[in-house]
């Protein structure tokens, strides 16, 4: 039960400490939570269902653009826009997912198709004047108003993203114990066997896809509101997709807390390296590359694999 006490303490610290933290640390914590959240959203599809999406930027971007455009053009509060973005992203996810799963794309082929979809959306966004083309969109008039998802300080944003991350973890936990969760695991381990045992693989994968893309889109809206600026490269670019999966892989794909743990390790690593080597862009991402290679080589189950005491089990390939 030691683990639960530890978790409780960590949660208490996350809830109570931030008001007393200097702004710089608060910013880092917000990044940690955002990336942890995106990782958790990716994890549902990538970790549990074993479908490695390289294009979650598509849903992130749809979320960011939908809420921002609704707010700028029609004055719809981003809280509602967030849901609209989520629904739209889920619809797009179902479309992309149906196409790829229906035609039996698996493994790396699925990854490539998702990447292509995200890149297509990026190209469209760059070339569409109505969404600000490559200049992007700015949310002006930063009058703080809770209704409009615009706050005075960083603290409220922190609590919003903390709540979102906790919700994502809670959903993952529920998922793990649900029929859907078990089906996804079966599909991940051996799709043909799962189907033979009566699992509706297509339906289950689509459900995971919808949930994962819906959650990712909410993260996109949060990003837009927090930074008040979005452009096609930031939102639809490959780096968003990579960020999400990185947290989950490093922390432990297919575990409830993995993505958050990953974010707690990766974000400080990147912040520290950026602080240590100033004026040289790219050091942080370079380290991400190193961490990714090391984790896959030595901890194929991520950091969570350490705890379970199965750090590096030999895996025999099925030929």
């Amino acid at each position: 039960m030691g683990a639960e006490v530890l978790l409780g303490l960590a949660l208490g610290a996350l809830l109570l400490a931030p008001p007393f933290l200097p702004p710089y640390f608060l910013e880092i914590l917000i990044s940690v939570m955002l990336f942890g959240y995106l990782g958790a959203a990716w994890n549902i599809l990538g970790g549990y269902a074993g479908q490695f999406s390289f294009g979650h930027a598509a849903y992130f971007g749809i979320g960011a653009y939908t809420s921002t455009l609704l707010f700028l053009n029609l004055g719809v509060t981003p809280w509602l826009g967030m849901l609209a973005g989520g629904v739209l992203a889920a619809a797009f996810g179902l479309f992309a997912g149906y196409l790829s799963f229906r035609y039996g794309l698996r493994g790396p082929y699925f990854s490539l198709v998702t990447l292509a979809f995200a890149e297509m959306l990026r190209v469209v966004a760059v070339n569409t004047k109505a969404v600000g083309s490559s200049l992007g969109l700015v949310i002006p008039n930063r009058e703080p108003a809770a209704v409009n998802f615009i706050f005075a300080g960083k603290l409220p944003y922190y609590y919003v993203i903390l709540a979102m991350a906790l919700a994502a973890v809670w959903i993952t936990r529920r998922l793990e114990r649900s029929k859907l969760g078990y089906s996804l695991l079966a599909i991940r381990e051996n799709e043909d066997a799962a189907e033979a045992a009566g699992v509706d693989a297509l339906g289950m994968k689509l459900r995971a896809m919808a949930l994962s893309s819906f959650l990712t889109a909410l993260g996109g809206t949060f990003y837009a509101q927090y930074f008040a600026y979005i452009d096609p490269t930031i939102t639809f670019g490959p780096s968003v997709s990579i960020q999400g999966l990185l947290q989950a892989i490093v922390g432990g794909a297919g575990t409830v807390l993995g993505p958050v743990v990953g974010a707690f390790v990766l974000t400080p690593v990147s912040e520290l390296s950026r602080a240590a080597i100033r004026g040289r862009a790219g050091v942080d991402v370079m380290l991400y590359g190193v961490v990714l290679v090391l984790v896959i080589s030595f901890l194929p189950h991520g950091l969570m694999g350490l705890r379970r005491g199965r750090g590096n089990p030999p895996r025999v390939p099925l030929q």
């Binding site: 074993g50 490695f52 196409l99 790829s100 035609y103 039996g104 794309l105 698996r106 493994g107 790396p108 082929y109 990854s111 490539l112 198709v113 990447l115 292509a116 979809f117 890149e119 297509m120 190209v123 469209v124 760059v126 070339n127 490959p238 990579i242 999966l245 892989i249 080597i277 040289r280 862009a281 790219g282 050091v283 991402v285 370079m286 991400y288 590359g289 190193v290 961490v291 990714l292 290679v293 896959i296 080589s297 194929p300 030999p314 895996r315 025999v316 390939p317 030929q319």
Partner: protein, 273 residues
């Protein structure tokens, strides 16, 4: 041009069954090598191929031996991530070392061109195109006639059979990765006279190369070369029909369609897995 990049990628995929995300990054390094050789030592970009080719062959072998081979038994997607990590590392290493500035190599003949019928032909592009074809043919001949080449093809077709026939599969895999890397570095050298050099330059080639490889059929060189032509055509067609960078949309759409309906490639037999 995409053809040559894709040839290397196709080779690596065929033999190693790995989709190599680091391919573009290796090409970028090849381009930087050409750039530095030209800027510091005044080595002609085309001449520098003699250096970049073998150097990146060795680099590719080292990468395969140290990073990828130990993870042979890991799940397929983990190997994908491995090359992704490698790409992130190499690209950002370049960013750290040489900043994000666009650099160009301008040998005296960079602007040379002549008129052929109604078309304006730029000499460096023509050379790159010719170079790509020569390289592909050489590669083809190498795979057909030499022992190592035959071993590579055997490994691509039947890994276990190759192992049973006494082929040192680890060495052959390293050689294949080396050749793939060497090819893409040469491709990098060939394009530098008319293309900019920057840390993320490989990315755009990488995505195109995926498209080409998938079009031509994974592990199929002639297919890769033909795929290169198709992508080039689709891109220029898209450029004339659609405004701005929407031409890429055509290529991606093509990519998705081929992946969905003919994952084994236009010229491959039937469906992939």
């Amino acid at each position: 041009m995409y053809g040559l990049v894709a040839c290397g990628l196709s080779l690596i995929f065929g033999v190693l069954r790995i989709i190599n995300f680091a391919h573009g990054a290796v090409m970028m390094l090849g381009m930087y090598t050409t750039y530095w050789l030209f800027t510091l030592l005044k080595v002609d970009p085309y001449l520098s191929i003699v250096v970049t080719g073998p150097a990146f062959f060795v680099l590719g072998m080292v990468i395969q031996r140290t990073v990828i081979e130990p993870n042979r038994v890991a799940a397929e997607h983990n190997q994908l991530l491995l090359t992704l990590g490698l790409a992130l590392f190499l690209e950002n290493l370049a960013l750290v070392l040489w900043q994000g500035d666009f650099r160009t190599v301008r040998p005296p003949y960079a602007g040379a061109s002549f008129v052929l019928g109604e078309a304006l032909v730029e000499v460096p592009r023509l050379v790159a195109c010719g170079g790509a074809i020569v390289m592909a043919l050489a590669l083809f001949a190498f795979l057909r006639t030499t022992d190592v080449g035959k071993a590579i093809r055997a490994l691509a077709e039947e890994p276990e059979g190759a192992l049973l026939m006494g082929i040192d599969v680890g060495r052959i895999r390293a050689v294949a990765f080396g050749i793939g890397s060497g090819c893409v570095a040469v491709a990098g050298a060939l394009v530098t006279p008319f293309f900019y050099v920057a840390p993320d330059v490989g990315e755009s080639f990488n995505i195109m190369a995926f498209v080409v490889v998938v079009l031509g059929g994974m592990g199929n060189f002639v297919g890769a070369l033909l795929g290169g032509f198709i992508v080039g055509l689709a891109e220029s067609l898209g450029a004339t029909l659609l405004p701005g960078s929407l031409k890429q949309l055509v290529v991606f759409a093509l990519f998705v369609l081929v992946l969905l309906f003919r994952p084994a490639g236009l010229f491959g037999g039937g469906r992939g897995r």
